[in-house]
Symmetry: C2
Subunit: 153 residues, 2 copies
DNA sequence: CTTGAACCTATAGCTACTAGAGACATTAGA
DNA sequence: TCTAATGTCTCTAGTAGCTATAGGTTCAAG
């Protein structure tokens, strides 16, 4: 049996995150020690690593919930898992093309900056006048792809 | 003088969002009609359009706050605006390369799915076993680039 | 047995909004 | 002029996915 801290270190997930996953029902409640501390069976580690990996790939928690349910029932057809992964792939692709458009415009903006005073700054000017923008379509196609920033550990 | 609704339609920003911007001090409080409704001078439209455009480019609100302050003082050197834009550009670039790695892995996952049962599904398997992943470095370099999904209007 | 680390619960905060309730204001048409 | 429809007001709470803090308890090493 693992303590929550050891489980977290092994899976690369912070302790409060594990408690959060339990709270929202992504992990089932752990058994407790006599002193009320959580104890985990080693199998929980693979489940948590699964979650972690899916989060790294940008899957939203709700999709992960579905994937875990599928994993628990290996005789089901795989189509549902495939559909979830494909949806995620499409969300990633949408986000990439959107960000490419942004990058393009940002690069032009920065390149045109003459490093003078703000009054004649292209950065400020382009932001203020959308017509100067060469990609006027960057307000479309934003998909629901969560930005996951648990990098800071 | 414009009502909040007309201002919002003209700038492509929802009414509650304008009130929110006022609340957090991004827009100064509007004058009010006798019946306590907000009235905006036409100049506010360009300020709001500026915000909208910067949001479309992914700038966080705090960066926009700084950019607006710069815009208000045209004699300052442009270096600060340039730095903000460059930081945003770098954040976008980081996010793009990160998403490219994710796309790569997702594509492999989906391509290997044999559409059988979950028990032999590559999607589930790869998620559960990080070692099967060909890009094991996707847990690094996540920058603070907000995902802005106000596309739904 | 003591000490320090790890653990517990509960609450609040983060970004950038969005949604809803219930009441008041404005405006276009009859 | 009245009325109905739409617009607007404030306030609160909710969204995703955690993170941080406070104040207390338990565990493991020495």
């Amino acid at each position: 049996m693992l303590s929550i801290g050891k489980l977290g270190r092994a899976a690369g997930v912070k302790v409060p995150t594990i408690r959060y996953y339990e709270q929202i029902g992504l992990l089932s409640p752990a058994t407790r020690s006599e002193g009320n501390q959580r104890l985990y069976a080693p199998e929980t580690l693979s489940r948590l690593a699964f979650i972690r990996h899916a989060r790294d790939l940008g899957f939203p928690l709700e999709a992960i919930r579905d994937l875990l349910a599928l994993q628990d029932d290996p005789h089901q057809p795989c189509a549902a898992a495939d559909a979830i992964a494909q949806a995620q792939l499409q969300a990633v692709n949408r986000r990439i093309s959107q960000l490419n458009a942004l990058r393009c415009e940002l690069e032009k903006m920065v390149a045109q900056c003459a490093h003078g005073s703000v009054g004649e700054c292209r950065v400020i000017e382009v932001l203020g006048n959308h017509d100067l923008c060469l990609h006027p379509d960057h307000d479309e196609g934003h998909g629901p792809l969560a930005d996951h920033d648990h990098a800071s550990h």
